[in-house]
Amino acid sequence: MTAPLSVRPRALAQVGALSRRAVVGLLREFPLLLPGILFPLVFVAINAGSFTKSLPLLRACCYPELDSFVTFTLASSVVQGVLFGSVQGATGLATDIEQGFFERMLASPVNRTAILVSRLAGAAFLGALQALLFAVVLTIFGARVAAGAAGYAVLIVSGALIALGFGALLAAMAIKTGSAEAVQSTFPLAFVLLFASSAFFPRETMTGWFRTLADWNPLSHITEGLRDLVIDGWSWSAALNALDLPLAVTAVGIVLALVALRRRLAAS
């Protein structure tokens, strides 16, 4: 005879178990993560070959201490890779909905919020891992983080927060639409958001309405915070820049995702 289900497992334990499932699920589909890892690295290689001779321009406008273009692109590679990775994370949630696993979870005695939080925790873990990978690979290829170990730590934490924030926004979309294709279709939007920022070249070199767009784009400020740590060294203001906006996006994203979850629960 089986024991009666007297006590529901605690929410934290559920989050832990489901987070593990989310991470394992993402790692099992590693080929799907490859574009988010390889594309930024290929982009760095091509841009370094194209713009290394433009270093005097970058030194004159904004970074007098800049020693190589690979150093300049370290921050943008982290932002780019993590952003692309978060699309993949949210696609996993949409796939769960499509395949009926989400409904089975709802039918089980699992804390509703744990289902969402675990997915986001998985995305954050993956974001941190990607940030670490880019930092290590580009350091091997000559990038130098002037802020030292603290700079690397902020890069990794910021990577996790970016994945968490944008992952939460996309999770809201996944829960609302229940379609992996709809989530995947945001990939070009991520690309546009990146290009309309200072991720690839400083804002100071841009002009007109595109400059205004880059000024308002949160990715510009996140990238510049990280880039200041990488090129100029440690400063609290740069660290804050690299962390506060991802935190704000996370807060908004989680609220939207929870609202979407509540609506879905009410509808079912």
């Binding site: 574009p35 290689a45 091509i46 841009n47 370094a48 070959g49 194209s50 713009f51 290394t52 001779k53 433009s54 321009l57 406008c61 070009p188 546009v192 290009f195 309309a196 690839f200 070249f201 070199t205 841009m206 002009t207 007109g208 595109f210 400059r211």
Partner: protein, 264 residues
């Protein structure tokens, strides 16, 4: 007694069949805006974004020219290349829906199928050409090479469309599934970006400078772009034509061999 079967059925003439396939492919493109729109939006966005983001770097080499002069030809050619690859996605859909098998069973030369795709790609490549050049004109692009600049850009666009579609359908004939889609796009990406796509030869450094020098796409790009940078010269024209012939021989051979393998 029935009439003897003729070697070539009246409806089976290569060009007539190819043209019928062009019309069919164009209708399919029009009916699937979700596939068409991104391939038009991206060259336009690319032109604006590249000119705005990297324009300052180009100004170092061409201080008197508008930033758009460097990026309009690049994005036209990139749009033609990716558009042709998207056309190959249509070939994969045809495999999955069984239409391709019916085409193969039809009493016509197989070459007509390939020619049909090539002609469609050439017609389709005019869309990004017109759109991006119009955006460039509105944005203040100039033509130091005169009206012939646009003619050469058209020639280069058609060349890229032919090479792109041969590469795309060559893979489609072999894989017959969307699994080939990333490979199609990576091939185009590599060919376009490992060239003088973002900065001129003087701005390239390291391994990219060497790869760009041997990449035939560099010569095709120079052919199409020269009129936007300076007077048109034969010295920048003939290497582009030779590079095209080489790439055409390789990609058309690749596609033709793939098509031949389809027929038992």
């Amino acid at each position: 007694m029935s009439a003897p079967v003729r070697a070539s059925a009246p409806g089976g003439r290569t060009l007539a069949v190819a043209w019928a396939l062009v019309l069919r492919n164009l209708v399919a493109i029009r009916r699937l805006p979700s596939a068409l729109v991104p391939s038009l939006v991206f060259p336009v966005f690319g032109t604006i974004a590249f000119a705005s983001v990297y324009g300052a770097a180009i100004r170092q080499y061409y201080p008197d020219l508008p930033r758009l002069n460097w990026y309009v030809p690049l994005n036209v050619l990139q749009g033609a290349a990716f558009g042709s690859v998207f056309l190959a996605f249509g070939a994969i859909r045809d495999f999955q829906t069984g239409i391709f098998d019916r085409l193969l069973a039809a009493p016509t030369r197989r070459t007509a199928i390939l020619v049909g795709f090539v002609l469609t790609a050439m017609v389709r490549s005019l869309l990004p050409l017109v759109l991006v050049v119009a955006i460039g004109a509105v944005g203040g692009m100039s033509l130091p090479g005169g009206a012939l600049s646009l003619v050469l850009l058209l020639v280069a666009t058609l060349m890229v469309a032919v090479i792109g579609v041969c590469w795309g359908v060559g893979l489609a004939f072999r894989f017959k599934s969307m699994a080939a889609a990333p490979l199609m796009q990576v091939g185009v990406f590599v060919l376009v970006f490992l060239s003088e796509s973002q900065v001129p030869e003087a701005g390239l450094s390291g391994w990219l400078k060497w790869v760009s020098a041997v990449n035939p796409a560099t010569q095709v790009l120079r052919l199409g772009r020269q009129g936007f940078l300076h007077e048109i010269t034969w010295a920048e024209t003939w290497p582009g034509l030779v590079a095209f012939l080489g790439l055409f021989a390789l990609s058309a051979g690749f596609a033709a061999r793939g098509l031949r393998k389809l027929v038992p």
